[in-house]
Symmetry: C2
Subunit: 290 residues, 2 copies
């Protein structure tokens, strides 16, 4: 296993190849895609796919298409989230959001294009690498639609308009809006690399808890950090009446919830060999918002 930084670096090196070369008529669309996809980012999701693939003992090439695909999907979700009709954000990864830079219509299309491209990368891997890649594609595709990320986004938006303090809705939002696309690249990396069922099961729970921890940390940082440190607007959750762990449990309650999810993530991997990369990562993510 390499370090997180090395996996993220591998994602960064390969990410430009996730998009096709521009032709005579798609230059501006590709420019908008590149603007968002290649903006500086943690590459958490892509790095998780690569780390999981290497953990399963296969060459990195098996997991790489899924690492690139999940970064395309993540970039699409950020572009659509930031749209005026959605969260109406103007700052993302330290730059103007895609619709501020390219206009709203092109931002909608760039999001659509990045989602389509992520799926094309997976379909090509499936055609090339056979059954394990097909299963990886199925797992990742499941995580991003109605019973995954988009479902979570929709409930996130509906909850803004409600004053019910509803823990079941919060659980649903955190599991689907965020955790689905943190767990999925782990599973895709493992599946593409032929990991056994027991490993998949443990990482499925680890990914869910890591994703919840990640979202709770995000909720905390929105009330305790600065735009300079985060590269995006802060204080927006309360402004938009978002249903967050901080809103429901207060700052201390949210920190407890973060610790709990982190502990559960670490516990999920007990009994598997050499999981330090993943348990360290969970503890580090947890630490960033204390």
């Amino acid at each position: 296993m390499r370090s997180f930084k090395e996996y993220a670096q591998l994602v960064n090196e390969n990410l430009p190849s996730a998009l096709p070369k521009a032709g005579a008529f798609d230059r501006e669309l590709l420019e908008a895609c590149r603007y968002s996809l290649l903006a500086p980012g943690k590459r958490l999701r892509g790095a998780l796919a690569l780390a999981a693939g290497e953990y399963a003992g296969a060459p990195l090439e098996r997991a790489l298409p899924f690492a690139l695909a999940v970064e395309c999907v993540h970039a699409y979700s950020l572009i659509h989230d930031d749209l005026p009709a959605m969260d109406n954000d103007t700052l993302r990864r330290g730059r103007p959001t895609c619709h501020v830079a390219f206009g709203e219509a092109m931002a909608i299309l760039a999001g659509d294009a990045l989602l389509s491209q992520g799926l094309l990368l997976m379909a090509e891997a499936a055609a090339r690498d056979g059954a394990p890649a097909v299963r990886a594609m199925e797992a990742l595709t499941k995580a991003l639609g109605i019973q995954g990320m988009v479902g979570g986004q929709a409930q996130d938006m509906l909850s803004e308009r409600s004053d019910r303090a509803d823990e079941a809705a919060l659980d649903y939002i955190q599991a689907n809006k965020t955790a689905a696309l943190i767990r999925a690249p782990l599973l895709a990396g493992l599946l593409a690399s032929g990991a056994p069922a027991r490993t998949l099961q443990a990482f499925s729970e680890y990914g869910l808890q890591l994703g919840i921890a990640f979202q709770v940390a995000d909720d905390i940082l929105d009330v305790s950090s600065t735009p300079e440190a985060l590269g995006k607007s802060v204080g927006k959750d309360a402004e938009e009446n978002k249903l967050t762990a901080v809103k429901l449990f207060g700052l201390q309650g949210a920190r407890q919830r973060l610790l709990q999810a982190t502990r559960r993530a670490v516990q999920a991997l007990e009994g598997l060999p050499e999981t330090a990369f993943f348990t360290d990562l969970a503890e580090e993510l947890c630490g960033r918002s204390f």
Copy 2:
């Protein structure tokens, strides 16, 4: 082979099963998806997938996931096209557009959800049916992204802001915005059903020409039909300065172009046995705008 009406009816009967059952938190999202997906429509794309599958001699079940997937993708593209930032349409298939009925944010998400769901249907088929389904998925996925439908949409939008009368741009828009998603379900149905290379090649050209004919007919109807007859707004192309066959060649020139594409579609299938279903369809589509 059955009649077009029968294939369209099969699509209609199965289309509700393309979406998952609602859970506690995704009711409104699914309602928006259903509203657009199940609105009355020709089901041209789904019917083409089924007809191509049956033409290749396989049971209809092989092509069915691709028929449903392409209808999901088509519904998503209509929802996003109609958004205020895009074509700003209020009437579609004889009803208020999705964003008029459900709000702009939910319409963006319903489009994202339908695209994701279409891809999930294909990924599940690929996991179940193996290599032929994987190839079908690859062909359909290729057609809907940057080097396909989304690329065509982007250029369509950019051309509205330009006064260059550019035939190359028109060819690109018609091939990508429209024809890509008419050809793709034909290829997907054939691939999923194990058709030989020669059949694929002929239908690839047939699908391209049929798609061009379909778009030119649409351009013509926008200046010569009524909202009541079409179930959508008319006269919008000129209003929005869209680059269409009518704008570039006039009504008579567009009709010539329609006849030419129809003739090429029919010719593409010469030498293949029993293609009457497909050649009749091309001639019928051509006839509807004369």
